[in-house]
């Protein structure tokens, strides 16, 4: 109980919010819109998986939104040229991996602070993308949307696939030595080195994974509509970071669980529709998001304070 305090309290908050909706806005639970809402969160979920890994290894990556945008445009242009989706996917994954690797080289091997490196790469990708694409939407061929399946099959596939990925990564993180190495490096890189783990390689790998996941997320976003908006990645990094933070991943590294981040993401992602359903004006959204983040960390702070005294 104690060990899972943060995950449980976030899940509790989510359940509470869902209960409030069940009482005052039962039509929130119409199956089809619910499915659509969940589907729309799958790209953010994929990014949150990556961000959780990055934060466990004691780094941060604020360039993921920009990476996401670049990958979306790469995948979009390739799909628009008529190439099969698998080619677009491979290209997006590769583009993401390359951008992740660049971060990784600068952060892991040159030892530069990740917040500043990813700030610089964020600006770089975002500006290059703007210059290249000029905000132009990319219209996709008809067979791209929902992988050419029906809408509900596509939506279910996306949800199933991304939750499966979450579960898979979560399992790997817990039960494969590579996963434990991420925790070890985030907890104490020097101790990890002495234990025969290569912290640089681990950190580098995590950034490559982050980039690759950004590519995957971009494709999962692309198949949800017949057009690619080159601005689609803007501010996504903040959402992924906020989800991980609310879900109990420590910025000091070494601590955190994927299902906590998942609960954090769901909580944050439910606030926006909840406002609509409860007829709260849109201009409260940011303030409420901020309050939720603060409450989550304040609860943690009060708890650890009570424990130490």
């Amino acid at each position: 109980m104690n060990r899972y305090f943060r995950e449980l309290s976030v899940t509790g908050a989510l359940v509470l919010l869902l209960a409030v909706l069940a009482i005052w806005a039962p039509h929130f639970y119409q199956p089809q819109p619910l499915l659509s809402r969940f589907t729309a969160q799958t790209p953010a979920l994929i990014l949150t998986i990556g961000m959780t890994l990055v934060m466990i290894v004691r780094q941060i990556d604020i360039s993921v939104g920009a990476q996401f945008g670049v990958c979306a445009v790469v995948a979009g242009l390739i799909s628009a040229s008529g190439a099969p989706l698998i080619v677009a996917l491979a290209a997006a994954l590769a583009a993401g991996a390359i951008m992740g690797a660049l971060n990784g080289v600068l952060i892991a091997w040159m030892g530069l602070p990740s917040i500043v490196v990813s700030l610089a790469t964020m600006v770089t990708w975002a500006e290059l993308l703007r210059l290249f694409q000029q905000g132009k939407f990319i219209n996709l061929p008809a067979n791209v949307q929902w992988f050419g399946l029906s809408q509900s099959a596509g939506q279910q596939g996306l949800i199933f696939g991304s939750v499966l990925l979450l579960a898979g990564v979560s399992w790997l993180l817990k039960n494969r030595s590579g996963g434990r190495h991420i925790y070890a490096v985030g907890s104490d890189a020097e101790a990890a080195r002495l234990a025969g783990i290569n912290p640089k390689l681990t950190t580098f790998t995590v950034f490559v994974i982050m980039g690759t996941l950004a590519g995957l997320a971009a494709v999962l976003n692309m198949v949800q509509s017949p057009q690619v908006d080159p601005k689609c990645g803007v501010a996504l990094e903040l959402r992924a970071i906020a989800a991980a933070v609310v879900g109990g991943v420590a910025v000091s590294g070494g601590r955190g669980r994927l299902w906590g981040s998942f609960a954090g993401l769901l909580l944050l992602a439910t606030i926006n529709p909840a406002l609509t359903f409860l007829h709260v004006e849109a201009y409260w959204e940011k303030a409420i998001q901020g309050l939720v983040i603060l409450l989550a960390v304040i609860a943690d702070g009060l708890r650890s304070r009570r424990q130490t005294s």
Binding site: P113, L119, I241, A282, Q289, V297, D300, S304
Partner: protein, 334 residues
Amino acid sequence: MSSQNSRSIKSLLLRHEVLLVLVLVLEIFYFLNNARNFGTPDNLSNIVRHSAEIGLLALAMMPVILTGGIDLSVGSLLGLCAVLFGVMTHDWHWATLPAAFVTILLGGLAGAFNATLITALRLPPLIVTLGTYSLFRGLAEAITQGTKTYRSFDPGFLGLGEFRFLGLPLQGWVLGFAALFFGILVHLTVFGRSFRAIGYSPEGTRYAGIPVLRRTAMPYILAGLTAAVAALLFTARLQQARADAGTGYELAAITAVVLGGTSIFGGSGTVYGTLTGIAAIAILSNGISRVPAVLKAGIGGELASLLTGALLLLALAAPALVRLLQSARKQPTT
């Protein structure tokens, strides 16, 4: 001893600030030769006026980062303070002066809110200010219901946006005063000494009998006050107050501080480095938009951002590269 001396001369040459000043000189030299009307007094005053708010935030951010913290909320706080100032002068019909005073006070209060969460609850600054980043902007939007824009302020107040004294715009004087204030605070008082010690080791500083929590709180409160001052300048310059004022300024401020050689991990850095960083960015973005080829292509804004990013990476990587080259022979002794 002699090897120590030669090493310190070498390290002085490799000092971040020295390299940055070189970059700055290079920039100025290049733009004077290649950028249209770069060196005119009017343009120089533009550079100062346009970089004043971000510059103020960067100067206030510097001691925060020096303590090993960060404040992501300053841009949002600028917006909130601008809106609050609008509420006081318009909705409550207060006179400009008391409204400005109370605005600054409220800015300090918001900073104190950050500081309380960070020190009393020992929460990580990144997370706390990520929360208030959203909260402050959200409050600004909620107060104005997102849409309201406060305009037609007192003409005397608006005049400040264009006011010059001895040829230097008001913004320059405020920026200079702030630089002096933070420079003295960081370099010449025990407060700055404490910030540095806390940045290196908060626990160790506590064991030296220094009130770590109070000292850690101080830069955040100052950042709040400074954000409020920047909000007033911003309002005077733009002749309006709206909830989106200062969007993205926190990242610009952090960029200037880090470019200026302050370690993002805390402990080391100088205020004149920060000032150089501010100047390097401001001059780059002003000058690059005046180079004929860039003008013709119409890519000034993008290129300024790209080059700033590149400069930031280069500035960070330069010492790391030097270290990497040397590391074959030299490693830290234990």
